[in-house]
């Protein structure tokens, strides 16, 4: 655990996202202190049902991110389909229609790199199940900035390529199961 109290969590997930997030997000308590910004790869024409789906299951607030909205603690923000989600230095969210990165929009790397700039070492980044390499480069940027890097363990993961690629590029990343990730987040959120 880094010496600096974390201020935010970013999560990237692709194939198998729902299973992993269904363990992590509902486990967080109502008084969870940190904001969570989440990119899940989705087909572009799908109107997002993720926020609604998780809102019903979670004690924290869950929303689809809106452009230029201030980041609030205890809230999970999902990137809308077909837009990149970024965090500004003043801790507001921005959307972008820039070209897909690694065929993905939203892109995990785009969120992670902007969050690394906004939060520096006070950031926890998590790469969950997925079948591509998105998130690996971003996770390294976050770790290089002093943030905490976590990847989902292969055991029980729906698709391992994405967390494995992230671990390969960012060897300092901790390898945890979704249950362990939930417990970790709850623990660090409780720190003053």
């Amino acid at each position: 655990m880094s010496a600096i109290a974390p201020e935010a969590v970013v999560i990237g997930a692709s194939a198998g996202a729902l299973e992993a997030l269904s363990v992590i997000l509902p486990a967080l308590p109502a008084n969870f202190r940190l904001p969570l910004m989440i990119v899940v790869h989705m087909p572009p024409d799908r109107s997002s049902i993720l926020a609604e789906l998780f809102q019903a299951k979670c004690r924290i607030a869950v929303r689809e991110a809106e452009d230029k909205e201030p980041v609030n603690g205890g809230t999970a923000y999902f990137a809308p389909p077909d837009y990149h989600l970024l965090v500004e230095a003043n801790k507001h969210l921005s959307l972008s229609s820039d070209e897909p990165i690694l065929y993905s929009r939203p892109s995990i790397d785009v969120l992670f790199e902007s969050a690394a700039d906004a939060y520096g070492p006070a950031l926890i980044a998590i790469v969950l199940s997925g079948a591509n390499q998105d998130g690996a480069a971003g996770l390294k940027v976050i770790a290089d900035a002093g943030g905490t890097a976590i990847v989902q363990s292969s055991e029980g993961a729906f698709a391992t390529a994405m967390p494995e690629a992230a671990k390969a590029m960012c060897p300092s990343a901790q390898v945890l199961s979704p249950q362990e990730i939930a417990a970790y987040l709850e623990k660090v959120s409780g720190r003053p």
Partner: protein
């Protein structure tokens, strides 16, 4: 830890100075853009244009006039589709057009038209609805190259399948292939679509009102602005719209966080189409 404790990173200083240089030298003002995307684009430009640092890029920008259009390409790059979000164009067709029919002449402004996808979508829609002949379209952008592309009306043939599908879903009453000829992997759109279009260099950041509009469509342009600049642009739209004129934004844009919200009412809420209230 607070932001005040964190010394400004060298890269952030470089970005600030480069944007200042861009403004002083070329009068293009990106200083109130949303910085997270600007930073991404500048990093990409630095890498692909082959500079070690943004300071080196800045030096070239100041001294080499050829560098400016190249950098502007990175800073204003827009990727769109014809009839992107077909439900938006369906709402224009089914909800807005009946109101527009009551006017003897119409003005439509596509603000930040980029390479013209949104413009051609609207012109085709207006032709299908029998409104094109009484409409003057203004297509504006700050990027001359993009404007030239929009005026040329040529798109990669590989994109036409998506455009065609979007057009159909938007309630299109004709076949998109009626409007272009295909050759050498490119689709060249019929020049008659441009007969009522005025292409013009206009900045939402620094320029003023230039006409009274009945419909302004500005989709996924203001997401690149910070909130102050969004407010400026929305104020410009407010002042440019006729009473009860329409403003269409991108699917994930809204007036919710804007100080101009009181000047508009929701017209088609789910498609982010607003109507200007009486002053």
């Amino acid at each position: 830890m607070t932001d005040v404790d964190m010394p400004e990173k060298i890269e952030d200083i470089e970005i600030r100075l480069l944007l200042e240089a861009l403004y002083s030298r070329y009068h293009y003002d990106f200083r109130n853009y949303a910085m997270a995307s600007v930073k991404r684009r500048l990093r990409q430009a630095r890498e692909q244009l082959g500079f070690e640092t943004l300071s080196a890029l800045q030096e070239s920008l100041l001294h080499d006039p050829n560098m400016f259009p190249r950098l502007l390409g990175y800073l204003t790059v827009q990727v769109s589709e014809m009839f992107r979000d077909p439900a938006y164009f369906r709402a224009i067709r089914e909800k807005v057009v009946p109101h527009l029919r009551t006017y003897p002449s119409l003005k439509v402004w596509v603000a930040g038209c980029s390479a013209g996808e949104e413009l051609y979508s609207l012109v085709i829609l207006f032709r299908e609805e029998g409104l094109e002949q009484r409409t003057l379209f203004y297509a504006t952008d700050i990027n001359q190259e993009a404007l030239a592309q929009a005026e040329a009306g040529i798109f990669g043939l590989d994109r036409l399948q998506l455009f065609t599908e979007n057009h159909r879903k938007s309630g299109g009453k004709s076949s998109l292939s009626d409007y272009y000829s295909a050759a050498y992997g490119r689709a060249s759109f019929d020049k008659t679509l441009r007969q009522n279009v005025l292409f013009s260099d206009h900045s939402l950041v620094t320029d003023a009102v230039f006409g009274e509009m009945h419909l302004i469509s500005c989709r996924n342009v203001m997401i690149y602005f910070d909130r102050d600049l969004q407010n400026r642009a929305l104020g410009l739209f407010k002042d440019s719209l006729a009473r009860k004129g329409f403003l269409g934004l991108g699917a994930k844009e809204s007036l919710r966080f804007s100080n101009q919200a009181a000047a508009f009412s929701d017209f088609v809420r789910e498609e982010k189409i607003y109507q200007r209230l009486a002053a």
